[in-house]
Symmetry: C2
Subunit: 201 residues, 2 copies
């Protein structure tokens, strides 16, 4: 803005909101105005919730999930099958798989993928922690659920090599046509994979 039209505290709030993913400079202003107008319904509670999250948030020392307890809600859940570990790149992938709710098992968050160009090596990811969990035993299966990108597949291969000597079943997610997807819009690689992995009706 050319001239100041509001207090520095509100300008600061707008600047910080603009850094939140999903909000840009323009929507940050709109968000700040709504927050200020809904002072007691929204701004107050949100400020309090952020303060509490800031004080209590922990990264699970076992699986890498984001939680307010360590080990996390998932790792301490006795009703889950701790013999199956799903390996994911990011916490958001863990949450997405939990929304699907297909398996009642535990997870391991790598915190990224191997990427030599970006200087990300095996020591930058939580791979040692995974090997450690599997080596300690009681794990029957490791499901590698990394993204179907070049970096994701490289990481999957590396993990498979590292687990080679251990008596554990290693699997990966199936490739195929997304449920509800139209063939016309799919790439050749996906269609080839879906044809090769065709199943009897």
């Amino acid at each position: 803005m050319a001239k100041r039209v509001t207090g520095p505290e509100i300008e600061k709030l707008i600047q910080l909101l603009a850094k939140v993913p999903g909000l840009g400079p323009r929507s940050a202003r709109r968000a700040a105005l709504t927050l200020v107008k809904k002072k007691d319904q929204l701004l107050g509670p949100l400020s309090k919730a952020m303060g509490e999250a800031y004080d209590k948030v922990r990264i699970c020392s076992c699986c890498g999930n984001v939680d307010t307890i360590d080990p996390c809600t998932v790792c301490t859940d006795e009703r889950r099958d701790h013999g199956v570990i799903i390996v994911v790149e990011d916490v958001s992938d863990l949450w997405a798989l939990e929304r699907a709710g297909a398996l009642n098992v535990v997870y391991h968050v790598l915190g990224g993928t191997l990427s030599p160009l970006d200087g990300v090596g095996p020591d930058d990811l939580n791979i040692a922690g995974l090997i450690d969990r599997v080596t300690r035993g009681h794990v029957r299966e490791v499901i590698i659920a990394v993204n179907a990108t070049v970096e994701g597949q490289t990481t999957a291969h590396y993990i498979t090599e590292q687990l080679a000597g251990i008596d554990v079943k290693i699997t990966r997610l199936a490739h195929g046509v997304p449920v509800g997807g139209e063939l016309d819009y799919l790439d050749e690689g996906t269609l080839t994979a879906a044809l090769r992995a065709r199943t009897a009706i």
Copy 2:
């Protein structure tokens, strides 16, 4: 989510973020994860900024602007021409006009438009405050800058009637082709207005 995968404090943060305009349930989760990951760069400062805004925010008793001082930054700016008042519907309109920076004058925020169907009458808007400011004198011009909607125009007419007995010039924003706009995409009303108000080159 079917099962709990994270702490109640983080779930609460996601729920509240989803109420911020511009963020939905999905982007609220992404925002919360980013905030938690950038704990010290973003979550901490944002929590602090929200707390300060909550404590200090005021609605200007003169013009209705949102600020941390009362009267606000605009109303206390001695370098502005206090003889011209721009009447707007919302604080966001005030900020938008200030970004344009065309006039160095003061404002009056109505807080909405007359809308009998929604039960919004003259007493629900800050119209009395405007009449009071104009009656006290020293105001040469009132620029009515409400939206070009039916409700906005109704409100403009009502204000014009209320100011009828007072010696003040009342103007409204020009209608015409938006700068950078294409004629092909404009409605007939705008084109007619632009033709009628044509100017010599």
